[in-house]
Every structure is written in C-alpha cells, then in structure tokens.
C-alpha cells in the first residue's frame, strides 16, 4: 500500500480534470467556511468572545428565508434582504440584552450563554420546522443540474464549475469588499476599529463602545443570514442541524487565519477547505471520515508556530 493516493479514477495516473474538480470543490467549501469565519471575526474583534450559537442563528435565519420564499412566495433576494435586516436587529438585541450584562462577570459566562442559545435555537427550529430535511431549498443562485460552466469537456470526467459554487465565491468577495468599505471608509467603521484596538481609549474619546459591540453582533448575524441561505443551496440541505459542522470549520478557519483578521478569515477558510478535501484524497493512511481530524491538526500546527493565527495581531497584556 503506497502512501500517496493520487486522486483519480485510476490510482496509477494523475487525472487533471478530477484534480481540478476536487480543487474547485475544495475552494467552494473553503469559501463557505470563510463566510462563517467572517461572522466569528466580526464578533471576536470587538468583544473577544466566540459565539457558539452563530451557526444556529444562521440556521434560524435560513429557515425564515425558507418560510418567506417557499411558503409566502417572496422573491429570494427580497426575502434575504429582509431577513438580514431582521437578523441584524436580533443580533444587536442579543448582545445588548443577554451578553452585555454578563460582560464583567467572567470569561465563562458569555460562552455558556451562547451554548444555551445554541440549544434554544436548535431545539426551537426542530420544534417549529421538524427534524426532517426540507426541500425545495430557496435558491439565491441558479441551481439546476445544467446551471454550470463547462471548462474542459474532452476528458473524462468533465471539468465544470457550477453556478452555485460561483455564487458562494461572489458572495464572499462582495461581503469582504463591503466590510472593507464599511470599516475603512466610514466613520462608523473607524469607531468600530477603534473599539477593536482599544476599548477603553475609545470610550475616553467619546466613542459609544457598547453600540460598537452591538454593531459587531449585528454584522455577524447579518453575514450569517446571507451565509446560511447560500450554504443551504450550495450544500443542498436545510434542516435544524445543517450549520453545526459548518460553524466548526468556520471556527477552524478563523483560528488558522487569526481571530481578528478579515483577510485571515478568507485565507483560513480556503486553506481549511483545501486540507479537508485533499488530505484524504492524497494520503492513503487518512480515512475520508477523518478530514475533521486533519483540520484539527492544521489548527494545532498553526497555533504552535503562530499562536495568533496567520494574519492575526498579537495581543499584548498588561499585568
């Protein structure tokens, strides 16, 4: 048994189109993780917390998109815009009502609270919409069988890119550009960055720090709502558990890239996607169900050499 299993129909030969197909899948999956990593980063930058309910919030938003589109007949994008706005309000509200009072207690309290939210949202969705997968899934992008760009057709298998995958990439790029515009070109963004850099000094110069923390949660909830809808279509699954695994890889992506870096979230997401797809494909000693373990190893390696992540900034602590 060899160590390398070249991805292909025939293990002896390298198959270019299959490799490219794997790579696009990896990058599309990676973009999905990057979307979730973005939500993680938006909250971590200002509050320093991880929101374990992030995935469930996105799942809940996606279900509301589902209700609006499939049951009420809304246009998909109109529904997404509505739900994003609603999610932002709810996200800010959760921060204000549930997280802020716990802020001073301990590190543990907000974590436990988000774990509690996880249960409430997860169980709530299962109670309202049942535990069965739902279909049809609202489709933000054309998602029929032949909605794809054929690139190489004279080999077996064909190499093509689906519109769904392109949609994930476009969503990611647009969101990152918008976030950059918001953070780098507006006064609101300046205030947000100031709070991320030093909350106490920001307070002294008159920045409403608490509102900026709420903004972080609002942005995360909004991005999560978009991500949820896009991911549901891309993965073709909508049930009460569909975001749990995605969020874990999103955490991994944020961890690899650095918890306070938007660029890091994107690079980390793509890296995690590539590792997840390629390690079982490349090495025979890794079973395909172990991609999660591989991602865990990548986190460990990155943390060992760069504890702040690839693009994260070091936190200096005063005693």
């Amino acid at each position: 048994m060899g160590i390398l299993a070249v991805p292909g129909i025939d293990d002896k030969f390298f198959n270019l189109t299959l490799f490219l197909q794997n790579l696009t899948n990896a990058l599309a999956n990676g973009a999905v993780y990057a979307l979730m990593a973005l939500t993680v980063v938006m909250i971590y930058k200002t509050t320093g917390h991880l929101n374990f309910a992030q995935g469930e919030m996105a799942m809940f938003s996606t279900f509301i998109v589902y209700v609006l589109v499939i049951e009420q007949g809304f246009n998909v994008w109109a529904a997404i815009v509505l739900v994003v706005l609603g999610s932002m309000v709810v996200g800010a509200g959760i921060e204000r009502i549930l997280i802020q009072p716990l802020e001073r207690r301990s590190v543990l309290a907000p974590v436990i609270l988000t774990l509690g939210l996880f249960f409430i949202l997860n169980g709530g969705a299962a109670t309202i919409w049942g535990t069965q997968p739902h279909s049809p899934i609202p489709a933000p992008f054309p998602g029929k069988l032949d909605d794809k760009v054929d690139i190489i057709t004279n080999r077996v298998p064909h190499f093509f890119v689906t519109y769904k995958a392109i949609g994930v990439w476009i969503t990611l790029v647009v969101l990152v550009l918008l976030l950059n515009l918001l953070l780098k070109r507006t006064k609101l963004g300046l205030a947000y960055r100031a709070v991320a850099a030093n909350a106490e000094s920001s307070l002294i110069v008159g920045i409403p720090v608490k509102r900026m923390l709420m903004l972080g949660w609002a942005l995360a909830a909004g991005i999560g709502a978009i991500a949820g809808a896009v991911i549901a279509q891309y993965r073709n699954v909508l049930d009460f558990n569909f975001m749990a695994a995605v969020l874990l890889f999103g955490f991994a992506a944020a961890c690899v890239g650095g918890f306070d870096s938007i660029l890091g979230a994107v690079v980390g997401g793509l890296l995690v996607g590539v590792v997840e797809t390629f390690t079982p494909a490349l090495f025979t000693f890794v079973g395909s169900e172990l991609s999660l373990v591989m991602v865990l190893l990548v986190i460990l390696i990155v943390l060992y050499f760069r504890p702040q992540g690839l693009f994260g900034s070091k936190r200096v602590e005063r005693v």
Binding site: L102, R105, I112, L115, G123, A125, F251, V286, E289
Partner: protein, 397 residues
C-alpha cells in the same frame, strides 16, 4: 442585637455538627438509592454518579484553572472504551481496568495539554471542541493513520459489556458478592461500586484543590503573570491540571462503561461535552459539591422533562427538552451565576456564617495596670480596668 446570622467557627463543635449532618446526608442518599428507590433507578443513579465524576474532572480545568474544555467527552470516552475493551475482550476484572483507564486518560490529557501551554482561553476551547468532534470519528475509523480502530472498538456498533459473544447469557455480570446485604440486585451493587469510587474521586479532588497545587492553579486562573511571578510555574501546572482532569474524567468514563453496560461512539460526542459544561455551570463552577448536583441534574433532568406533565408546557418532546435545557442554562447564568451551590450558600449565609478559626486571641496580662506620678510615686487605679476579649462574632462585624 441581631441573632442571625449565627457565626460558626470552623472546627468548633457546631461546625463538626454540620459536617456530621453532611456525612449523614451522603449515607442517607446511599440507602435511599439501594433500598427505597425502584430497582431500575439504581442503575440510572449509577450513571448519574459517573457523570458527576466526569464533571468533577472538568471542574479542575474549567473551574479551578479557568480554561474552557469542550473536549471532556473524549476523555470520558477513552475511559469507557478502555474499561469496556479490557473487560469484554481480555477478561479483566472491573476494578483492575480503572487504573489503566485513568493512566490512558492522563497520558492523552498531557499530550493535548502540551499545546495548551501556548494556547489560552478560547484557543483551548477550540482545540477541545475539535477533540470532542474527532473522538467519535476516530473510534469509528478503520483507517486512522493506518490503524484500524473500528476492529478494536466495535466501530459504530459500539460495544456491550460481556465476555465474547453478546448473545450468550453467561459472561460479565457485576453480581453482588456474598457479603452484600440480602436482596441487593446487580443494579444496587453497580451503584454501590460507583458510589465508593465517586466518593474517592471527590475526596481526592477536594484534597488536590486545597493543596499547594490547587492554590497555584487558582492563582494562575486569577492572574497568570502574577502567579508566575510568585513562583507558580505555569507550564508544569497547566499540563498537570489538564492531565489530572482528564484522569478523573476517564475514571468516570470507566465507571460509565460498567453502569450503562453498552457504549457506542456517539455516546461520547459534542452533546456529552456540552452536558458536562452545562452540569458544571448549573451545579456550581469551582466548587466540590457543584459537579455532584450538576451530574445528577444532567442525568435526571431530561427524564423529568419527558416524563413529568409540566403545568403549562405539558409533556415535552425531544427538541423541546433541548429548548428547556438551553433556557435553564441562560436563566442560571443570569440569575445564579455561581450555580446552585453558590445560590444555596447565599441563602445559608443569611442564617449561618462559617468563619475560619483564628489563632487564639492574644493573651493580655492580667496584672493591674500601674501608673506613676512624675515624681515616681505610685498611683492606685480607682477601678479595675477590664480588657474585653472580642467574641468570634464581633471580630467579623
């Protein structure tokens, strides 16, 4: 003068009386389960006790060292699988498997704990989150770096505690010995075994926390740099804390294998880890009694949620119990941030305050105070000067 709260010095007769009452409560609990409660519930109580031990282990890391571990389900699983495999496939006696389970948990905990030296708080929680998700995958895997784990662990089918063939009626049974009280069932005997082991683990952890190691951990939790400056060597303590915590949890896992007699990979997933955290928070973080209350609630709460007809809610179903669970967590963290134990302590402090015993108050000379005039002549005091010894209560008010 207020009569409440009553102030009780530690090690005074009254304090001893309180301690005696606590011991009696433990004994009463034991007799309640073995004699009064229904037979099926003895095995549930045994499982609840194994969970309390697991949460006790988590408490060492999360409560006393202030690091959040979401991966203790994996250590619980390591212990359970070690015990199960040694009993079922190698015919070991149950008690002999526990040291092995503990040692294995300790070793894996140390390996995980070493990278934890570099990572703090959130990062550790992420690594351990990954561990919780990876454990079932590794157990099910038939090709983990070339190792076929599934053939050892039974893969996704799990394992049943019996020697060899599952269908045979002979094989492993944890029967009460001849000296056990008459009428004890296997369940009662299992409970008694787990009870004694749990008692040992609680005593051990309680002593550990009160030792210099425990104080070092607490100091590091409160201010790591400050503790390091004061001579607590962080690297050593962190690895030790994580490994010891894994050891305690694995022993809980080993008992779980005995108590539940069937285990599968998904018994030890993320859900279990979150149960541990929930139990710890509900019971009381950084207390010795907290894990006990938490473990019992974690085991019985879903049962009560399903079986009891709630006043408004009616009978709950699976996902709704999840909502209830989450809601309890949120409510506890909001209104009783220290968990049930701290809540009880606050209520108790309205009535009784325990204070440490101080060194005996300074002995004052009983000789009369003598004063002299400037010319050296003696002045007789016109009355006895009495120096009041402060009572214990006054010292604390």
């Amino acid at each position: 003068m207020r009569s409440l709260p009553v102030i009780v010095e530690r090690k005074s007769p009254w304090h001893r009386a309180f301690q005696l009452a606590a011991v009696l409560a433990v004994i009463a609990f034991f007799f309640f389960v073995t004699n009064v409660a229904e037979n099926f519930s003895a095995s549930r109580w045994a499982i609840a006790l194994t969970l309390t031990v697991a949460i006790l282990g988590l408490n060492i890391v999360t409560g006393y060292s202030g690091q959040i571990s979401i991966g203790h389900s994996a250590f619980f699983g390591i212990g359970a699988y070690t015990t199960m495999i040694l009993i079922a496939d190698h015919g070991w006696p149950f008690l002999a498997t526990l040291p092995v389970a503990g040692a294995l948990g300790f070793a894996v905990g140390a390996v995980i704990g070493i990278p934890a030296l570099r990572i703090r708080g959130l990062y550790l929680s992420l690594i351990t989150l990954g561990l919780a998700l990876a454990f079932p995958a590794i157990v099910k895997s038939d090709n983990f770096f070339g190792i076929d784990f599934a053939s050892i662990t039974g893969g996704s089918n799990g394992k049943v505690i019996s020697n060899g063939d599952v269908t045979k009626t002979e094989g492993f049974h944890w029967n009460p010995p001849s000296w056990a009280p008459h009428g004890w069932t296997t369940n009662d005997w299992t409970f008694a075994t787990v009870f004694v082991i749990a008692l040992l683990m609680f005593a051990m952890t309680s002593n550990l926390i009160r030792s210099s190691v425990g104080r070092g951990l607490i100091a590091m939790r409160d201010n790591e740099t400050g503790a390091a400056v004061s001579g607590v060597y962080p690297a050593q303590y962190k690895v030790l804390a994580f490994a010891t915590s894994a050891l305690v949890t694995s022993i809980g896992g080993g008992c779980f294998a005995l108590a539940s007699s069937t285990i599968g990979p998904d018994t030890f997933g993320l859900q279990r880890s979150i149960e541990f955290i929930a139990g710890l928070v509900i019971g009381g973080v950084a207390t010795i009694l907290g894990p006990f209350i938490g473990g019992v609630l974690v085991e019985w709460l879903p049962y009560w949620a399903f079986e009891v007809n709630w006043p408004i809610l009616g009978r709950l179903e699976g996902p709704q119990a999840g909502v209830l669970y989450g809601a309890i967590l949120v409510v506890i963290i909001f209104f009783m941030p220290g968990g049930i134990v701290h809540g009880l302590r606050q209520i108790r402090s309205k009535f009784v305050v325990m204070v440490p015993r101080l060194p005996a108050a300074q002995e004052f000379s009983t000789a009369p105070i003598v004063a002299y005039e400037l010319d050296g002549s003696h002045i007789e005091p016109d009355h006895e000067i009495e120096i009041a010894q402060p009572t214990a209560k006054e010292r604390y008010q």
